[in-house]
């Protein structure tokens, strides 16, 4: 059951081979056994999970089950879920019990899924290694001295270690794709606006996008079918007809034009990663795809542009955490200004404070034009690069991250090195395009390598097809880490 696809689990539940309560308990037991070492979850709540499982069993019993009914899904702790502690990885929200459901949570609840728990993450999703979490670092299940990636590191770890059937993540600059790559799982960040941001604690509003993380592209399609859809409570939610992301999974790939941006294979890319990615591209050629050399000339500016825009938005988005109405408040203070300063100084971690300061700076009088406005202009150029590229190719491929999982603490002292681990993913968020990562082999120390697939706007079904065909032909995605009690 732990290695089964969502479809297979669903069938087993509907055939009453296993109940949702049994399955949920199985996962809860695994989390109890493995989480002390892996730290993938910040919060589990057996009472709430099992109550949902019992409800799912009732639906399964009277034949009202849908595809995901009774399946335990791990939710990133960035989504507000009613009655669940929702921390966003921060001391600031250590004791915050959400009084309402995010749209994503509502949709999973409506689909009958069981919320198995809230996964660990970098504080306020700011980080690429999960080391900024107030609740401790997450370990990479393939090598526990390595990072799982971030910010959705807990989710990636939980999926890889079979601590849930599937998980949700969010991706502002690569936070689904990079941990998916580093933990050897699949993840997709859909087109901006596909999944409602309502109830998802904001980091950088114009870049944040939720998506599913799972063991296969096929599972991702089922999950995206549930998560996506217009929500009038999010003004940036797209008003489009509901689509079935699984509809094209089995299309042959003959004639597919794959664009390879030369900038993604240049200096800085680890050799083992390049090797696996090139092998994957060779595999695609075997499946009938053709290769097009393309260029994304402005993508080299993506990281600096991102580290102006994302902190700018974050500095404002995080202003609501002021100790007045909810969240952390310093125990002692002399007056209002002191209360603000101490509460925020004590409630936020170093990386969050760094980004708030950067963001405050770039928005300040006299700097706005030089930084924020300039970055917005370059953002357009970056998006235009992709538009031009998609005239020549159907999908773009390359590495998800320049290296495999690095060691815990390795980049902790050097934020710029840390920021560069998202060098291939960030441009996709700036353009609002869909991007995904799938396992495509193992590197030098047998650590997973991720292949990034970037599609045109709304091309998720095609991308999932491209990923699925590869996964039919290969078995990288089926490999599981050692020592996870299988």
């Amino acid at each position: 059951m732990l290695n089964s696809s969502l479809q297979q689990i669903g069938s087993a539940l509907r055939a009453r081979k296993i109940s949702s309560v049994e399955l949920t308990q199985l996962y809860l037991d695994r989390v109890a056994a493995l989480n002390p070492a892996l730290n993938a979850y910040i919060t589990t709540n057996a009472g709430l999970s099992l109550a949902q499982a019992r409800e799912a069993d009732a639906q399964l019993a009277n034949g009202k089950a849908q595809g995901l009914t009774g399946i335990p899904i791990a939710q990133k702790d960035i989504f507000c879920a009613k009655d669940w502690r929702t921390t966003c990885g921060s001391k600031m929200l250590e004791n915050f019990i959400a009084p309402y459901d995010a749209h994503v949570i509502e949709l999973f609840n409506k689909a009958g899924a069981v919320n198995l728990g809230k996964t660990n993450m970098d504080e306020f999703a700011m980080g690429s290694s999960n080391e900024t979490s107030h609740f401790g670092t997450v370990k990479n299940p393939w090598n526990r001295s390595a990072v799982p990636g971030g910010s959705s590191g807990g989710a990636a770890c939980a999926v890889a270690a079979r601590l849930c059937a599937a998980a949700t993540g969010t991706d502002t600059g690569g936070s689904i794709r990079q941990p998916a790559a580093l933990c050897g799982i699949s993840g997709i960040k859909p087109t901006y606006g596909t999944v409602s941001r309502y109830g998802m604690i904001a980091f950088a509003s114009s870049l944040d996008q939720a998506g599913p993380m799972a063991r296969s592209a096929e599972d991702l399609a089922l999950l995206l079918n549930v998560m996506s859809g217009f929500d009038e409570r999010d003004s940036t939610s797209l008003q489009r007809d509901k689509e079935d992301y699984a509809r094209d999974l089995n299309k042959p790939l003959a004639g597919l034009r794959i664009g390879l941006p030369k900038e993604f294979f240049a200096e800085g890319l680890a050799q083992d990663v390049a090797g696996s990615v090139n092998a994957a591209i060779a595999e695609y050629q075997k499946l009938g795809a053709t290769i097009v050399d393309i260029s994304l000339p402005n993508s080299r500016l993506a990281v600096p542009v991102y580290y102006v825009l994302a902190p700018a938005e974050a500095s404002s988005n995080l202003s609501r955490f002021d100790g007045v109405r909810y969240g952390y408040r310093a125990p002692e203070y002399s007056d209002l200004a002191d209360m603000y300063e101490k509460s925020r100084a004590q409630g936020f971690g170093a990386e969050v404070k760094r980004r708030i300061m950067i963001g405050t700076y770039v928005l300040s009088h006299g700097y706005y034009d030089a930084y924020y406005l300039q970055a917005q202009k370059i953002r357009r150029l970056i998006a235009q690069d992709f538009t031009d590229a998609f005239r020549q190719c159907d999908v773009i491929m390359g590495p998800t991250s320049p290296g495999t999982a690095f060691n815990l603490g390795e980049k902790g002292d050097d934020p710029v090195q840390m920021y560069l681990s998202d060098i291939y993913t960030i441009a996709v968020n700036l353009a609002g395009l869909p991007g995904m990562s799938i396992p495509c082999g193992f590197g030098a120390s047998d650590m997973p390598v991720g292949l990034q697939i970037i599609g045109n706007y709304f091309a998720e079904a095609q991308m999932l097809n491209v990923a699925h065909q590869y996964q039919l032909a290969t078995d990288h995605h089926d490999r599981a880490p050692q020592n996870i009690g299988l």
Binding site: L93, S235, S316, S364
Partner: protein
């Protein structure tokens, strides 16, 4: 040497939508603290703003009413600062791309001081933009603790900014009053100043005529016209005294204390915030289509300025009367309602039985609305919206004057009875016995008796003392208990006194 006063206003009008500008929470005033604070008003983690279309329509309506350019695309921006009553740590406002651009408002200035005559002036409006109101901090309810009430947080505001076109406190007050009347007139704001629905910030500076603008100080949050007048008068004198004694004016935000009548600096420009405005990424740019513009235009009532001009042109009313009748939508509605009702009843004209005239009716209705009706309202402390009499009731009284049933003075009696007790005109006339005597025999009899009883006065009159005519009219009216038809009485008296 003379000083010139320069004044510009920023007015915050609360728009009369039933829900908040970015959420569905109610905007009703006066609820228990925080009972109208939903997840968005509290700024819970993860919540997002959704723009209220009603607020946009009201902003457009205002823009059209002042002849302003409506931006086809405007942008919401975040104004970042920390304060307990600002739950998000930023206010959603509009910065460099407001929804309403340049417009103008014509004001009638009636100087309070000196013998200056009323005059008209056009004040340019710089812009008007949509934004959300903050909550309220409540100090002093319990020792050492400040409460926060977020009921008001997110109430839609239209901030209307004028050019520094006003040159006196009178002009500033006239502008504020005209604006106040206009926003109520077009139904975008209830104008309740006590409840903070219409709040004025006044920028004041002084200069020598012909010189560049002086440094301004901004008087914040004036919520009465009286205070505005006092605050400006005080501030102007303070600035002149400061400059004349060799001091300098520093840009500052100041508060007016109504108890002392003084202004006092709240913060100087040095502690001014850097608000770090940037476009709100949670909201799309606000696009206003030509269709939407036309739909809103169709809901716009005839504006006070147009009405004033029409009253003068069509009804030959004086500009002063036209102003009084257009002081509010309710007053002009009352006037037009009574006039229309009287006209449609087809009663013969008041001045000439031959040619019924709209002008004559208008003059009569105007006299009553600006006279009796407004006096009674004032006496009872009511405004026109609370008037106990409807226009049709007034016209039914005027109809009975027109057809000679009652005299003007009897009509006032009917009106006052109706005001306090309600009822139908004819029933009141009947019950109080106010019907005018138009029987020529009865009037002749009264006149004969008066002439007989006042032979000495009749002699004086006949010897040329014309002024005594009024004396006889008075006696005759008294004898008829006020019911004699005045026209008839005059005619009979004149004839009989002539001998």
């Amino acid at each position: 040497m003379q000083w010139e006063i320069v004044i510009g206003l920023e007015v915050h009008t609360q728009l009369s939508t039933s829900s908040k500008i970015f959420s569905g929470a109610s905007t009703t005033y006066g609820a228990e603290p925080n009972t109208q604070a939903d997840a968005v008003s509290i700024a819970l983690p993860g919540v997002l703003p959704v723009l209220n279309k009603g607020a946009v329509e009201r902003a457009i309506k205002f823009g059209l009413a002042v002849g302003a350019h409506i931006a086809p695309r405007s942008v919401f921006a975040r104004k970042n600062y920390f304060y307990p009553d600002l739950p998000k740590g930023y206010q959603i406002s509009q910065f460099d791309l407001p929804v309403v651009g340049q417009g103008a408002l014509t004001i009638q200035v009636e100087p309070l001081s000196g013998n200056a005559k009323p005059y008209e002036k056009v004040v340019r409006i710089t812009r008007a933009h949509l934004e959300e109101d903050a909550g309220k901090s409540i100090h002093g309810e319990s020792q050492g603790v400040t409460g926060v009430d977020l009921n008001r947080a997110g109430t839609p505001l239209l901030e209307i900014v004028s050019e520094p076109d006003m040159r006196s406190a009178d002009e500033a007050v006239a502008y504020a009053k005209t604006l106040h009347s206009l926003v109520r007139w077009i139904g975008i704001c209830d104008g309740n100043m006590q409840e903070g629905s219409f709040r004025c910030d006044v920028n004041v500076s002084v200069r020598r005529p012909g010189e560049p603008l002086g440094t301004r100080r901004e008087i914040k949050n004036l919520n009465s016209f009286k205070f505005m007048q006092q605050a400006i008068d005080y501030e102007v004198q303070w600035q002149i005294d400061t400059l004349e004694s060799g001091g300098k004016i520093h840009q500052a935000t100041i508060l007016f204390n109504p108890d002392t009548g003084e202004t006092r600096a709240m913060r100087s420009k040095e502690d001014a915030h850097d608000y770090r405005y940037f476009p709100d990424p949670d909201l799309l740019p606000l696009d206003i289509t030509p269709l939407m513009l036309e739909q809103v235009r169709a809901t716009l009532p005839e504006l006070p300025q147009a009405k004033r001009e029409r009253y003068v042109a069509n009804y030959a009313l004086s500009p002063n009367d036209a102003n009084a009748l257009t002081a509010s939508k309710e007053i002009s509605d009352f006037f037009e309602g009574a006039h229309k009702s009287l006209w449609s009843q087809g009663v013969g004209t008041l001045t000439s039985p031959e040619t019924p005239s709209a002008e004559a009716y208008a003059a009569q209705v105007c006299n009553w609305v600006t006279g009796e009706v407004s006096a009674q309202l004032k006496r009872d402390g009511l405004d026109m919206a609370q008037c106990p009499i409807i226009p049709e009731q007034l016209s039914s009284i005027l109809k009975r004057i027109a057809d000679g049933t009652i005299s003007n003075s009897a009509a006032k009696d009917v009106f006052r009875t109706m005001w306090s007790e309600g009822g139908d005109t004819d029933a009141i006339i009947e019950a109080k016995g106010l019907k005018q005597v138009s029987d020529s025999g009865a009037i002749e009899k009264i006149v004969d008796e008066i002439i007989a009883a006042n032979a000495d006065k009749v002699a004086e009159y006949r010897s040329g003392k014309d002024k005594l005519f009024g004396f006889f009219v008075g006696l005759a009216m008294k004898a008829s208990k006020g019911k004699a038809n005045p026209a008839q009485l005059n005619e009979v008296l004149k004839r009989k006194l002539a001998g």
